[in-house]
Symmetry: C2
Subunit: 353 residues, 2 copies
């Protein structure tokens, strides 16, 4: 029993009676071939169970596949990891002639238009984008797509645009998981407060809704009150201090955005640290001591590294294999506590193919 090696275009050429050049034309729907022969060749290819060899095709690829990316520098802890994931994935695809082209803006939401305008001039094959806003960049995204440069967003979606896919953690799920955890932590009893950047930001709003949905399912007691801090450290601190003063019976705080250190400081300064259950979002170095001291009891990790990594993979497969990714690739939100945080910080990872 021969291991019946898989058929190559040469085999198809032989079987169909055409040359490999023609077979290639048929297989890739190139021009310069009659419909008749294309059909015939496609039929034999199918009957022989032909599958292209990506390795061979990569080897012979003339122009490199340039994958561009636009990342913010701030917040370092998050976007640095996204960027590492991006670079690692590209590095892994190096032998497939994939090249990175990374641009940066200083802060999320600032100067993206200009950077994108610049990128539109470049010869790129795909784009990974961290959109500073869920719709403001739609026109730009669409211009890339019209130039047949597929765009994959990361960290959030741009649902109104024609982006190919979005790789991120569903904020609703994120909040839902936090809510369930909080309910279990408190045995279903509150009161609980929610700290968020701004309810006008869709992702923040979704997290709050998700939290409330599972909180109301798993817990009784008063509806959690929501406090907006505009992503400002000072305000986060003050709001927390204020809430604690007014509600000394507060049992839990859910911090839906990245301001947890300020909240923790307020807790410590008010003497509530460790007594109030705190569930936060994301994970970065500054949070470590608070997890160790038990000020933060758990945090929901969004795996920025993998977001960057998977965005690249999705683009690559789309570009060279024609595999269309799902419109939304939701990554798993992960519950991180003291005993498993070492797995996620300083965050290292590895996949390979």
């Amino acid at each position: 029993m021969t291991p019946k090696k898989r058929p190559t275009i040469k085999d198809i050429a032989l079987a169909s009676g055409f040359s490999i050049g023609t077979v290639d034309r048929a297989l890739h729907g190139r021009k310069g071939i009659s419909a008749r022969t294309r059909e015939k060749i496609l039929a034999t290819a199918r009957s022989m169970g032909y599958e292209p060899n990506r390795v061979a095709s990569a080897l012979t690829r003339k122009k490199p596949v340039v994958l561009a990316a636009l990342f913010p520098r701030e917040l370092h802890y998050f976007y640095d990891d996204v960027r590492r994931g991006f670079y690692d994935a590209v590095a892994q695809l190096r032998d497939f002639k994939v090249l990175p082209l990374v641009r940066e803006v200083e802060t999320l939401g600032k100067g993206e238009e200009e950077a994108l305008e610049n990128l539109l001039e470049e010869r790129i094959d795909g784009l990974v984008l961290v959109p500073g806003h869920r719709s403001r960049l739609n026109a730009f995204i669409n211009r890339f797509v019209e130039k047949s440069v597929p765009v994959v967003t990361v960290s959030t979606d741009a649902p109104g645009s024609s982006r190919l896919s979005a790789v991120y953690v569903d904020p609703w799920k994120n909040g839902e998981l936090a809510g369930e955890l909080m309910a279990h932590f408190l045995g279903g009893k509150g009161p609980v407060a929610i700290m968020v950047g701004s309810l006008d930001i869709e992702d923040h709003f979704q997290k709050v809704q998700g939290f409330l949905s599972s909180w109301t399912r798993f817990a009784r007691g008063p509806e959690p009150e929501v406090f907006e801090n505009e992503e400002d450290e000072q305000r986060a601190y003050e709001t927390t201090a204020c809430v604690l003063e007014e509600h000394p019976d507060l049992q839990g705080i859910y911090v839906a955005t990245a301001n947890s250190p300020a909240v923790c400081r307020a807790l410590e300064d008010s003497g509530f640290a460790g007594r109030v259950r705190v569930i936060t979002t994301d994970l970065f170095g500054e949070m470590r001591p608070y997890l160790e001291k038990g000020v933060i009891h758990a945090t929901i990790f969004q795996n920025p590294y993998r977001q960057g990594f998977e965005a690249v993979i999705a683009l690559f497969r789309f570009l060279v294999e024609g595999v269309v990714p799902p419109p939304c690739r939701y990554l798993e939100p992960v519950v991180v506590m003291r005993s498993n945080m070492e797995f996620y910080i300083p965050s290292k990872e590895e996949e390979k193919g």
Copy 2:
């Protein structure tokens, strides 16, 4: 500015004044080359920053890389996923001429010797093994390694053997995470019971120790009592019923092995379901309703799919790139609750490179 394409062996040949054949000999330490020229070539290669192109080398590889595996059929829910991970990884490496060769035993720990004896006859390049025992198979593993067939264990380790690597979730960490979670669920108050297969099994023992270590750190109150059920459903049920009767004030149960459904039934039959906090191990279809009903509050997922997947990747990289994996590749234990279980059941996954 040319994108200065990376050097190939041809470039090295040109630069060093030897032929590509000789360059290849030098690069791979093959015989039939003088030490002098090898050194010279290696030097120029280094100075030019040469890195081999895995795609090209895969394309030209004569014999396929055969990765063998030996999996148990039982417990389906776990080893089926390991197997899927194995197959998916191999499929992804298909174009690199990687072929699978899978053998099975009916039950973990039964007939492995015979199956391995058989595998020793085959021409294989690497082996993924689920060892039914942490030392009993050492002699076999060593025989493979002596034939220069690297072995990677999955789901547990065989530390006394010369296995190349072990991919699994550190059982101690696993228990530690469960213990921390339980402590938070109960506000640090017990009593708590631990259900385990047998303390004679190292992995079970480790889970218990891990649980106790974090329980004592985060909680006060009595030391949890440990009950062995010999992996027997009936015993698991009876033990649970018994414990509940004797300790109606029981607050939590940690099920360190796969017998959670029996424990859940006992809880329901005794009317304690939902009142007692239950943290289990692994995740399979039968557990879903218990998570939904709130009988199980959380479970620690060990990602069998990824265990199988990563074992393949480690073997491949070792065999074709010479990358030596760490002796132990600990995967992250994951906290799964009702609102995130959909991500892990029926368990789907994907990586790519």
